[in-house]
């Protein structure tokens, strides 16, 4: 029973079609208008539906996907992509076709435009601006809004609200320097986040703690923080009986939910646009809160909730059975973990594949490069420093940079993991080969060993343990970093982690994190054994 529910959930997140596109560079989808559509008949190209990694976005993405499937179209799901920058980059480059976005986010995070008073007062003006500017700058289409807003909801516990008589954000000025904020790092940093709120309302907090979205509500209810940034349709607002403070000075821009469509889809399939538009204006904030709650609090499978929602709107498929997954939320961790074992194994396979390919490519490049550099120390330092710079680029940023070139999916993930693995292997090779017993090398060179023999007989064998330790370091890093692949739809054990973080489901997070940690240990042990087997003979004696 539980297995069934979770397989349904994960089937929705990981469509079978993914495996197929996983091996074809998604970059081939970019600039689809000419070459791509000529090569591939349009009726066979699946529509790629994506979402950002939080509950409501998963749900809206799933609803859009089911609507398209009902029309007989092939749909590929890439739900839970990194964040706004990953998803929007992927969309404008035609690596995905449609995902749910919010007008305020489009204004501030995508366009970087200032929010006028007129836009704050009238959500329709905000939408008009975002839609026009996005079409002009990126060719991206914003369909008519879905009908509800999901804006920032600054929330406090009921007791806090009663004690300080808080109803609006203005009221917060009454209690300066006594409350502790717990915000997502996004909200702490962005000008349309807390810094802006502070200025607009003249507020001051005792302290601000950066919190992961998944633990915000828990931290607030347990009193670790007093005030958090939520979203107005969060299911958890209701679960914890929190009070949201009204934005009485209209600081926040409107956040109307909208389906945004890629340049490719809007040109290639106008009928699909018409189908997606069926949802426009149909969703209310109250409905969304209820459905989000079903996902986030009751841990119901997203496909089932999406189906139920579409049925309620008269857009559903009556033959579908509806299950209520309440038991899943009561399952203990180990039972849950056991129920997911087949899925976990499949994801571990994907993960191992990502790691193996990128590590193999890194070894094939970094070891010869390290050898080449070992006789050219003047070139070596700049080259290795360049690799060091790559190492300092945050994983997500590297992935975002590559979307215009490689799209999303397995290929950019492998390229990124490969780039990260280069430095430890190249440096270990370079250093160890240079330092390998200079006297022995000089002696056999003086007696007529060729450069190649010096390398193969002395330098490499003596350097092997250090090179392998570099590979071990790279391998462990890669196993960990590969979880980021889930942010760009590359699959692997990062998938339940990303989904779990989005749904505040720690069991789901652990069901990815624990196997990933185990895999890191396993890879390390396997390479340690290899290192022992390849150790130079004299180190294996006595």
């Amino acid at each position: 029973m539980f297995t069934g529910l979770w397989v349904m959930l994960t089937m929705a997140l990981v469509s079978p079609a993914r495996a197929q596109t996983a091996t074809t560079p998604l970059a081939s989808r970019t600039n689809s208008s000419s070459a791509d559509s000529a090569r591939r008949p349009q009726n066979t190209a699946p529509v790629i539906v994506a979402s950002k990694p939080f509950g409501e976005s998963f749900l809206l993405g799933e609803m859009l996907a089911q609507l398209l499937e009902r029309s007989g179209r092939r749909v590929e799901r890439k739900l839970g992509l990194g964040a706004t920058d990953v998803a929007f980059q992927a969309l404008r480059n035609n690596a995905i076709d449609v995902y749910p976005e919010y007008t305020g986010t489009g204004l501030v995070a995508v366009l970087g435009d200032s929010v006028t008073a007129a836009m704050r007062a009238d959500p329709r003006r905000a939408f008009a601006h975002v839609a026009t500017a996005s079409r002009q700058r990126f060719g991206v289409t914003w369909l008519p809004p879905l009908g509800f807003q999901n804006g920032y909801a600054i929330a406090v516990r009921q007791e806090t609200a009663q004690r300080w008589h808080l109803r609006t954000l203005s009221d917060l000025a009454i209690a300066p320097g006594t409350l502790t904020g717990g915000f997502t790092s996004d909200f702490i940093g962005r000008n349309d986040g807390w810094p802006g709120v502070e200025r607009a309302y003249g507020l001051r907090l005792k302290a601000i703690k950066p919190l992961a979205p998944a633990i915000k509500y828990e931290a607030l209810s347990q009193g670790a923080v007093d005030i958090i940034d939520g979203y107005s349709t969060d299911g958890l607002l209701a679960k914890y009986a929190l009070v949201t403070l009204e934005d009485d000075r209209h600081f926040f821009p409107p956040y109307d939910a909208v389906a945004v469509v890629s340049p490719r889809l809007s040109q290639a399939d106008p009928d699909a646009i018409a189908i997606l538009t069926q949802l426009s204006g149909r969703l209310t904030e109250a409905d969304m809160r209820a459905w989000n709650r079903a996902i986030e609090v009751d841990a119901e499978p997203i496909p089932a909730v999406a189906r139920r929602a579409l049925m309620a709107l008269g857009l559903g498929d009556s033959t579908a059975t509806i299950s209520t997954g309440t038991q899943a939320s009561q399952q203990g961790f180990w039972a849950f973990f056991w129920a997911r074992r087949v899925e976990t194994l499949r994801l571990a396979g994907e993960h191992a594949w990502l790691v193996a390919i990128s590590l193999l490519l890194a070894v094939l490049v970094a070891v010869p490069l390290g050898l080449w550099l070992s006789s050219r120390p003047v070139v070596a330092e700049p080259v290795l420093q360049l690799f060091g710079v790559v190492q300092t680029v945050p994983g997500i940023a590297l992935l975002v940079f590559m979307i215009p070139l490689l799209g999303i999916g397995v290929v950019p993930a492998i390229v990124a993991l490969w780039a990260y693995a280069l430095l430890p292997i190249a440096r270990a090779t370079y250093t160890s080969v240079r330092l390998a017993d200079a006297d022995a090398v000089a002696a056999i060179a003086a007696m007529g060993a060729t450069t190649r023999q010096q390398l193969l007989w002395v330098r490499l064998p003596l350097a092997a343990p250090v090179i392998l330790s570099g590979i071990r370091t790279a391998a462990v890093i890669t196993v960990g970093t590969a979880t980021l692949g889930a942010f760009i739809g590359a699959g692997g054990l990062g998938e339940p982690i990303v989904t779990g973080l989005g749904l505040a489901d720690s069991r789901l997070v652990l069901s990815g994190a624990i196997p990933a940690a185990a895999m890191a240990l396993l890879v390390d042990a396997a390479l340690a054994a290899t290192a022992r087997a390849l150790a130079p003979a004299h180190l294996r004696q006595d």
């Binding site: 017993d437 006297d439 022995a440 000089a442 002696a443 056999i444 060179a445 003086a446 007696m447 007529g448 060993a449 060729t450 023999q453 007989w457 002395v458 064998p461 003596l462 130079p536 003979a537 004299h538 180190l539 004696q541 006595d542």
Partner: protein
């Protein structure tokens, strides 16, 4: 000399073979610079086949540079190096090096190779049929029982034993000349003395030519036919031990000789 050969390795090397094997080494007007530093100034030496020339001097005197020019580890220019009458720049450097043994101060053995494999290096490089058999002969010649040593690794041996292995490696392919770069300097006094005796005996049996770099005049006196005293890239005096002792050509040679005499006298009078 021929009788000594017969006693050490009966029937193995005849006097005519010795003459054929050992190389005549000659350096004419060799100058060598490392950047702006001149390591060798217009050096000329001759090592007749079967003889041993010692290059004595302080570190930086140019003796190792001169040694390295003999197997083309550094290219002579300007100046010429002749091996058996052939200008080395006309010879293939790798092939040349396989004909000349080399014994560095540290031994320079490959730590991950057994003693047998280390000693078999040059026969292996030359593609000989049974390099390990040649290695075993060379080990025995250097006073190490092949059955005890050939399967062991360098780190399992004493310093003196390692230098014997390095010596065996340098002559395993019956090289016609040996280059010894402070080969005995790092050993304790007893091991060094034992190895001096062993080396003198091996040389008299095989008859190879040799150039020995050393800072120790006593060692040169014990092993060399001719001694070149070097200083700052120049040869101060080139002659027999007797010539150095009786008529030192420069104040430096005089000082070197008198210091060596003084330390020897202390031991003799004690």
């Amino acid at each position: 000399m021929p009788t000594a050969v017969a006693q050490t390795v009966p029937g193995r090397v005849s006097p005519s073979e010795i003459a054929r094997m050992s190389l005549d080494l000659r350096v004419t007007s060799l100058t060598h610079r490392y950047g702006s530093v001149t390591a060798l100034h217009d050096i000329s030496i001759h090592v007749p086949a079967g003889s041993l020339l010692a290059l004595v001097g302080e570190s930086g005197s140019g003796k190792t540079t001169l040694l390295r020019s003999l197997n083309r580890t550094i290219d002579p220019a300007p100046g010429c190096v002749f091996v058996d009458g052939h200008d080395v720049v006309t010879l293939d450097a790798v092939a040349l090096r396989r004909r000349i043994g080399y014994v560095p101060q540290s031994g320079g053995l490959l730590p991950h190779w057994t003693i047998g494999r280390n000693v078999a290096l040059v026969p292996t490089l030359l593609g000989h049929a049974d390099p390990l058999a040649e290695a075993n002969d060379a080990l025995a010649l250097c006073g190490l029982s092949p059955s005890d040593f050939s399967h062991r690794y360098p780190h399992q041996l004493s310093g003196g034993q390692r230098q014997r292995v390095a010596l065996a490696r340098a002559l395993a392919a019956k090289q016609g000349a040996l280059l010894l770069d402070e080969s005995f300097s790092a050993l304790d006094a007893i091991s060094r003395s034992d190895l001096h005796d062993a080396f003198a005996s091996i040389r008299s049996s095989l008859g190879f030519s040799a150039v020995l770099v050393t800072h120790d005049l006593g060692e040169a006196a014990r092993l060399a036919d001719m001694i070149a005293v070097m200083r700052a890239g120049r040869i101060e005096q080139l002659g027999s031990l007797h010539e150095l002792l009786t008529s030192p050509a420069t104040p430096y040679v005089d000082a070197l000789v008198s210091r060596a005499r003084a330390s020897a006298r202390v031991l003799v009078n004690a």
